[in-house]
């Protein structure tokens, strides 16, 4: 298992459970390194004193805060002196309902795992898991990790304690300055839009969504390695607002009920093909049994598919 990012104790009333914190998010991105174009050697970021123009070692670096133009140097010891008393403790302050916490507040997910083999620790951890899964509530607490204080929401996920760090209220911007459109839609339009959403309703199944970007980037790297030509797809044009809102809603609802692509303009026509992404077209071509679909351009795919209809 990965390395613990933090260890300390979870404090629930007077019960303290020694725990370790592990990330619950995996980084699966492809990361690039900076290279010197000429010799393909790795670029290193090094620190230089802007005054003396000489390299500075990490031990000689200090922190400074720009207080209205005045530079104020602060040492690690000084920062440590203002850390909250219970630095190594996650203190449960309250229990709240999950639906009262807007997802906007959630930041990074972690797991809390009991630290050590002691029976008392295991038992206290299980007690918390049991109690919290039964109550269905979220515990709120705070803790300090790497010189920052976090507000955290604790729940049970997959039989373990899950901790999600949260933003503080002043880190969420007010919505008041966001333009929210103009005219109020009519009753019929709203009813039709609600019916459409219900028609397209489905359960949240995260496994259904793959990271296509990651896959495409993998292909780009592979193509480059094999010296194949890399072509960027033509980006889709932004569609203009529908001239007749009610007609657009009815048309979409009809499409959804018929199991057609919801953006189909005409009955049985092929006009919609142009609007699909290359991926979606490739997918269709595969279903239709069109050969060599992965090598075709978007235009070729549209042509091949429209011939099938």
């Amino acid at each position: 298992m990965a390395r613990a990012l933090w260890s300390g104790s979870l404090s629930f009333g007077l019960v303290n459970v020694p725990v370790q914190l592990f990330t619950a998010a995996r980084d699966l991105d492809y990361h690039f390194n900076e290279l010197h174009e000429k010799d393909k050697a790795r670029i290193e970021q090094r620190r230089f004193c802007s005054d003396e123009d000489i390299e500075v070692m990490w031990e000689e670096v200090a922190r400074s805060f720009d207080l209205d133009g005045k530079q104020v140097m602060v040492t690690d010891e000084e920062l440590a002196s203002v850390q909250p008393r219970k630095t190594r403790t996650i203190d449960i302050e309250a229990f709240v309902d999950l639906e009262d916490v807007d997802p906007i507040y959630f930041d990074h997910p972690y797991f809390l795992v009991p630290a050590g083999e002691s029976e008392g620790t295991q038992r206290a951890y299980r007690l918390l898991v049991e109690t919290m899964s039964r109550s269905g509530r979220v515990a709120l607490g705070r803790f300090v990790m790497r010189t920052k204080e976090y507000l955290a929401a604790l729940r049970v996920r997959d039989g373990a304690l899950s901790l999600t760090t949260m933003l503080f209220h002043d880190e969420v911007r007010p919505t008041s300055l966001v333009p929210t459109g103009g005219r109020t839609p009519g009753k019929k339009e709203v009813e039709s839009a609600v019916a459409l959403i219900e028609e397209l309703a489905t359960d949240w199944k995260p496994e259904r969504y793959e990271d296509c970007y990651r896959e495409r980037l993998r292909r780009v790297i592979d193509d480059k390695r094999k010296r194949r030509k890399i072509e960027a797809p033509e980006p889709e044009k932004q569609p203009a607002p529908a001239p007749d809102l009610m007609a657009a809603l009815e048309r979409t609802l009809k499409n959804a009920r018929a199991g057609r692509d919801i953006r189909t303009q005409e009955d049985g026509g092929n006009g919609e093909l142009e609007e699909l992404s290359r991926e979606e077209l490739t997918e269709r071509a595969k279903k239709e049994g069109i050969r060599g679909q992965t090598k075709m351009s978007k235009e070729e795919l549209v042509e091949a598919l429209s011939e099938r209809d």
């Binding site: 290193e44 049991e130 990651r214």
Partner: protein
């Protein structure tokens, strides 16, 4: 204060097209420090140095390489990396709608506010329909040449767009090695713990949680600026209780 949008595009649900702008919904308030040279308090600059030549490299001569095996890189041009962005451009198609409350909190990544670009009806229509159904529209969104999975839902009077983690980016509890053996907590302990949860229950009010550490750091900086001496004694750790039932009882 005029708010600057960070993205312009169109959200569609079926044949209804909603011209929109995106705004950041969150901003970190963490206290950020600059690196300085302790000796002379001069700012530290990060310079790019070629590891082979030991010389500074201007940014124009820097390329991006993906390491395929130790010290072997596939160099990609910016346009080639861009090719992976896909062809959605500036359009977010909401293709299906899930119960907004069904999405587990671990999936949420970043949030943006969705603003309307015109005074027409579609924005309010989408907002009203999402509000009434309590659903979130799922689609894909391309931002800075990278594609994200997103959920769009109604919050108060606005639409919000959340980027979501993909399922394989979320660690499952089954991947943890938690020992399930040993003695179970007793009935009495469970009952007392339940009671404690009830005692501490409250309605969530985000404003009752302030970032006290941030305030303490800012206060420290101000005191330091005035030339005050800082007391360096660190605070103590709490004691570890070992009698579970007694500790619970005392908490109640």
């Amino acid at each position: 204060m005029a708010r600057r949008s960070i993205w312009n595009g169109t959200i569609t649900f079926g044949l209804v097209n909603v011209p929109i702008k995106l705004y950041s919904a969150t901003e970190s308030k963490t206290v950020h420090f600059n690196e300085v040279h302790a000796k002379d308090e001069a700012r530290i600059e990060h310079r790019r140095i070629c590891s082979k030549e030991g010389k500074e490299v201007p940014y124009e001569q820097v390329v991006k390489g993906y390491e395929v095996e130790p010290d072997r890189y596939v160099v990609l041009e910016k346009d080639e990396i861009k090719a992976a962005a896909g062809d959605r451009g500036k359009v977010v198609h909401l293709i299906e709608f899930v119960g907004a409350g069904e999405i587990d909190p671990v999936f949420y990544e970043r949030t943006y506010y969705v603003g309307s670009r015109d005074d027409a009806k579609p924005y309010r229509l989408l907002h009203e329909a999402l509000r009434r159904t309590g659903r979130a529209g799922v689609g894909r969104f391309t931002f800075h040449d990278r594609e994200y999975l997103v959920a769009v839902r109604a919050l108060d009077d606005v639409l919000v767009l959340h980027t979501l983690r993909f399922h394989d980016e979320v660690v499952s509890g089954d991947d943890l090695e938690i020992d399930a053996g040993g003695k179970k907590p007793s009935k009495r302990e469970v009952e007392m713990a339940d009671k404690l949860v009830e005692t501490l229950y409250e309605h969530f009010d985000p404003e009752s949680y302030e970032d006290t550490y941030r305030e303490a750091v800012l206060d420290l900086i101000k005191r330091k600026a005035k030339g005050e001496e800082i007391d360096l004694t660190e605070q103590e750790e709490p004691d570890q209780g070992d009698d579970l039932a007694a500790a619970l009882e005392a908490s109640l």
